[in-house]
Structure formats: structure tokens, C-alpha cells
């Protein structure tokens, strides 16, 4: 018979270890908008929820209650009435947007014994997916990129990098008609792959881990991405060379947002993990800083949202900030219960409606009480919130 004192010591040790290994949380929610409807989808913990942005009420939840053995944090990707979302078991789900029912699930071969014993999965889908006509491409937390059939969920090919792929792959068809899948990895490399076979076409060492998504600029045929070397980098896809670099104060995780002005001026907005926000003009000679602002005392991870004359960013310090595009001056800010690390989305209002349907900024936090919150983009006034 165990003595209570021994049990106490063991429980205390277990709690200490659990606490010190950071077992509390894994990630932030994935938030995406259906561009054709006033609906946002949030993947959080065991469910993906469809929320009506006019009311803040949920429409459906995926999966059904008795089938919740996976965790979802990857950004859902919407295409042609279907949602694709990965989970923390390394599976990919295809879901019918009408009612949230499952089309299919791709489950990777798990040559592991961990499942039945451990709560820690052997692999994870952390990012969103890229799509072409017949395939879905996604990265795995360990090191692989996988292509599966959109119709049958059969695995077509896999490609192995030297570290985790936490960035959403980018599928681009060039002017010459050649399709290439670009993959950024934590192993510092940007890979160009043949989407049909998964063969590597070329790769470029960017010097630091690339955890975030890439931005494609079709006019200049470049990819912009941030690295943990605290650099925003522009890679020319024709020459496969780095053509511009911009040093930042902190590590970069979020994808930059591009604004093309009427006169053709191209400006990138992005934040770093030290809480700075930057506006950088793309010039023939590279990047030219327009302004930088020390906005938050903690990191800005997600892509800035460009709404009207404002740049809106979320921070790890549980705040959302609206800044002037012109000079970075703060227009409004709002306090939330959790860290704002997920991507922000905007939903345009309908000026012809009789009721107030202002443009909305929708954010998601790491706190279930403020899982999804909608603000009027002009004023920062809270419109609704959705609790987990």
C-alpha cells in the first residue's frame, strides 16, 4: 500500500515536469473566411466550427462529437464548396461546407507504437494546404511534404526536407505554363518541387528557419518570406536568387501583406516577434523602409490585415491594433482575453443593408472565452464574440 506522502511527492513531481515541459498548449487557432459567403471557419482543439459572421452563431461543427480523437490548429482552406484541414495526428480532412460532413480523411502510415500509450502525436499538420486541379499539398510537422488526390485521398507522393514544414506550400503556375510547388522549411531552405512527382527542381538556403507562410508577387515573379534570421527576403523565382533583404528587430513568422497603390507603388506590411510593425516599399534596388513602429511589447506573429486606410495587427500581448497605413500611428486598439496569434480576416459589410453591416475585422485568441471576436474595422467597437 502506497503512503499518501509518497503519492503526494510523485504527483508533485509529475505536475512539475508536466508544467516545465510546456504541455499546457500546442498552438493557436486556424481562422479562415469563405470569400463567397459571410462565414468564417475556426479550427481549435477538437473541432472546426463554421460561424455566421452576421450573427456570431455557429452553423455546424466538425467532426461529430463521437469522432473527436484529433486536434485541429491548422488553417482551414476553402475551395469550391469544400474545406481542407489538417490535424495533429498528421491526417488531412476534406469536409463538405454545406453541412460540415466528411468527404474523406487521409491518414498517413503510422509505423509507430506511440498512439495507444502516449497523448503526444508522432506528427502534425501545422499549416494550411495548397491545391491544384487534382491534388492537395501539405506539410507535416516532422519534415515531410505530402501530395494526396483530391478525389480519392490516396497518397500520390511524399518529399522529405531536413526539418519540419510549418509553412503552407505555394502552388504557382508561371507565365511559361510550368507549375511549381514551393515549400519553405524549418531547415532554412526554400524548395521548388514538381507538383506531379514531388521531385526537387531546386532549393535555396535562406540562412534561417522559415516557419511562416510565403507571399507570391505575380508581377515581379517573386516570393517574399520572413526568417528567424530577422530578415524579410525576396527570392526571384526566375533566377532563384535573393534579390532583396530587409533587416528587422525580431524574428519574422507572419507572411507580409502586399498593397499595390493606384500609381503602381508596391508596399509590404509585416510585423515581427519583438512587436514591431513595418511598412516597406519595394523598389528596383530592393526594399526601402517607409516607417516602423514599436507597437506591442510582445510578438506580432500573424499577417497584417489591410482594411481601408488601416493596417490591423494582433499581438501576443492580447491586443489588436489598428494603425494608419500612412505613418503607423495608432487608430484604435482592443484588449482580449487571449493571445492574438491566429491570422486575422476581414468581412466586408453590405452598405445596401438596412441593418448595420459594417466592415468587420475578425480575430481569434488562445482563450476559449474569446475564441473568435468581431470588431468594426473603422472604430474597433466589438460586435460579437464566439465562445468555445
Amino acid at each position: 500500500m502506497l503512503k499518501p506522502s509518497i503519492i503526494g511527492v510523485l504527483v508533485l513531481t509529475a505536475l512539475l515536469l508536466a508544467a516545465c515541459t510546456g504541455a499546457a498548449g500546442d498552438s493557436w487557432a486556424g481562422l479562415a473566411r469563405d470569400p463567397e459567403q459571410s462565414i468564417v471557419y475556426v479550427s481549435w482543439d477538437q473541432t472546426v466550427v463554421a460561424i455566421d459572421t452576421t450573427t456570431g452563431e455557429d452553423l455546424w461543427k466538425y467532426p461529430e462529437k463521437d469522432d473527436r480523437d484529433a486536434k485541429f490548429y491548422a488553417v482551414p482552406v476553402i475551395d469550391n464548396g469544400t474545406m481542407y484541414v489538417g490535424d495533429y495526428k498528421g491526417s488531412l480532412h476534406s469536409v463538405n461546407l454545406e453541412d460540415g460532413t466528411r468527404n474523406w480523411v487521409y491518414e498517413p502510415d503510422r509505423n509507430t507504437l506511440v498512439g495507444p500509450v502516449s497523448s503526444t502525436p508522432s506528427d502534425r499538420v501545422i499549416s494550411g494546404v495548397a491545391l491544384n486541379g487534382d491534388k492537395v499539398f501539405f506539410g507535416l510537422g516532422s519534415r515531410n511534404v505530402v501530395a494526396v488526390s483530391r478525389e480519392t485521398a490516396e497518397e500520390v507522393w511524399t518529399f522529405e526536407t531536413n526539418h519540419g514544414v510549418w509553412s503552407t506550400p505555394l502552388y504557382i503556375v508561371g507565365e511559361d505554363g510550368q507549375a511549381i510547388l514551393y515549400v519553405a522549411s524549418l531547415d532554412h531552405y526554400l524548395y521548388a518541387l514538381d507538383p506531379e512527382t514531388g521531385d526537387q527542381l531546386w532549393r535555396k538556403d535562406l540562412g534561417g528557419a522559415i516557419p511562416g507562410d510565403m507571399l507570391y508577387d505575380p508581377v515581379l515573379n517573386r516570393i517574399y518570406l520572413g526568417t528567424f534570421l530577422s530578415e524579410l527576403v525576396a527570392v526571384d523565382l526566375a533566377t532563384q536568387e535573393i534579390v532583396a533583404q530587409f533587416d528587422t528587430k525580431g524574428w519574422l513568422w507572419g507572411r507580409p501583406a502586399l498593397e499595390v497603390q493606384e500609381d503602381g507603388t508596391r508596399i509590404l506590411y509585416f510585423g515581427d516577434l519583438e512587436g514591431y510593425v513595418y511598412a516597406v516599399q519595394i523598389t528596383e534596388n530592393g526594399f526601402e523602409e517607409l516607417w516602423r513602429r514599436d507597437v506591442a511589447d510582445k510578438g506580432i506573429r500573424s499577417t497584417p490585415l489591410l482594411v481601408g486606410d488601416m493596417v490591423i495587427v494582433g499581438s501576443q500581448n492580447k491586443r489588436v491594433y489598428a494603425l494608419s497605413k500612412t505613418d503607423g500611428d495608432e487608430e484604435w486598439d482592443a484588449k482580449l482575453k487571449g493571445e492574438v496569434l491566429a491570422e486575422l480576416v476581414s468581412v466586408p459589410g453590405n452598405p445596401e443593408d438596412e441593418v448595420d453591416t459594417s466592415d468587420l475585422v475578425i480575430v481569434s485568441t488562445t482563450d476559449g472565452d474569446d475564441l473568435v471576436v468581431a470588431y468594426k474595422s473603422v472604430s474597433g467597437e466589438r460586435v460579437w464574440r464566439y465562445k468555445d
Binding site: T21, R124, W166
Partner: protein, 300 residues
Amino acid sequence: MLDIIINPFITILLFLYQILGKNVVLSIVVFTILVRLATYPLTMKQQRSTKAMQELQPKLKQLQEKYKNDRERMAQAQWELYREHGVNPLAGCLVLIVQLPILLGLYRAIVATLAATPLQLLNLSGRLWVPELSNLVPMDNKFLWLNLAVPDPMYILPVLVVITTWLQQKLLMPAMSSDNNGSSGSDKTADQAANISRQMMMIMPLMFGFFSLSFASGLSIYFIASNFIGIGQYAMMGRIDFKQVLGLKSADDEPAAKGAKASGGTSPADSKLAYKAPPKPKRSGIYDSRATKAKGKSKG
């Protein structure tokens, strides 16, 4: 508050990773050795304190017998005994309290630099004392069949953790007599303590084995390295009786006082929780050191 420990640990671990050919396992092992060396004075201090306390056990038992019906006098006599011998009964605990944040910092540093999840990677930001090490983040998590950021799917590391933890406990645990069936109060206490000690020797390895199944296998590497280093450290001090572990010597042959030496250390499974076996009394409440010494000599 732990950041003051975690941040330099993360920086040191990354520095080791850089100079050791980006071999994450080697980095963790060397890092563990360095931490053990850094905490060596504390370990020694704890051992001395434990030993001193152990040496006072016979006198304490005499006091317990003498004042068994007067707790107040007993406490006063104990205090005077400690003062007379310059012993602080809390010294061992204090050392453990100092070591605990170091241990937690070490765990956190390993888990953080392997960064299995987005939040772990995000929380690495701003922690590096040398920003130039940013190009090493996150560390490569592949080693042989392992992804060091997740548990070992083949169960090999958890089994090794259990075996090495048990081995360390067994080597450091004081010998326990099997014939403590006397009816005196001190015999009962000794039996009870010995039972606790045996239970701990079973439970601790299993508990760390379970941790190993649940947490990053990089942490299992640390557990194993720490256990081996702990065993090596005590072996170099000449405080391990391999004969007893190998079954070449009966536990009853062990001079009682020798058990007192096996305590302290910074390993996760060190004998912090181990019972420090009191010398077996010759008669109820009276310790005959001459008899024990003679017995030890004749067997030796």
C-alpha cells in the same frame, strides 16, 4: 521567474549544438555533464549534510527512547545535539530547493530548443543571449530512428530510462536488511522506512518511464545521460557497491553506516526521495557501533 535560468541554458545548449557539429544528442549529453559539474558543490554539500545527519542517528534514537513521552524535551534535546555537532537538519533540503530551479530550467531549455509545437517555437523568441545563434533555431530533431521532439515510437528510450533509473536507484540506495522483524518501535520505523524505500525504487523508474513515453524523446536522452553521469559520479567517489547490485554480497553484510553515503545528486531519479537507512540497533533503541564494525570486518 525561471527565465533567468532558462534563457542562459537555451543559449548554452545552442552554443554546444553549434560547436559539436549540430549533433543534438551530443549537445544534450555535454550540457547535462556541465550542469552536473556546476551543481557538484551543491551535491557534495547535500551529501555531507546527509552523512552528518546519519552519523547522529544513534544519538537521536537514544534521545527518542529517553524522551519518548515528552515531545518538548525531545525537541529541545535534538536541537542541542544538532548545535553541538554543528549540523543543520534542513541543509539537505535547502540544497535541493536550490537545485530544483536548475533542473526545471534544464528541462525547459531542452524542450524549448527542440520546439515540437508552434507555441514552443514562438516562446523561444527573445530568449537568446547571443542573437547570432538564431540560425540554429530550432535544433535538428532527427537522430537515428528518432524525432527528438516527440516520444520514441519504438519504446527503446523509455525502456532505457526505466533501466538506468532503476540501476541508479539500486546503486545509490543503502542496503536494507531483510530481517527487521523486531518488535521494538525503532525496528518498526526502520521496516516502514525500508518499505517506502523499496516502493520508491519500483515507482520512480516507472514514473520516469511514463514521462519518457509522454514527452519529447530529447528529454529521455537527458534522463538517460543524467542517470549514467550520476552513476559515474558516485562510482568515482567510491560510493557504489557494485557487488551488492550484482548479488555477490548479501545486503545484511553491508555495514550500516555505509548506506548513509548514498544520497544527493541532481539526477531526476537521484536518491533525493530515498530512505537513508538507519543503522540496525543491536538492542531496542541502543546502537552498538563496535558490534557493527566488527561484523563488517569479519564479512569483509
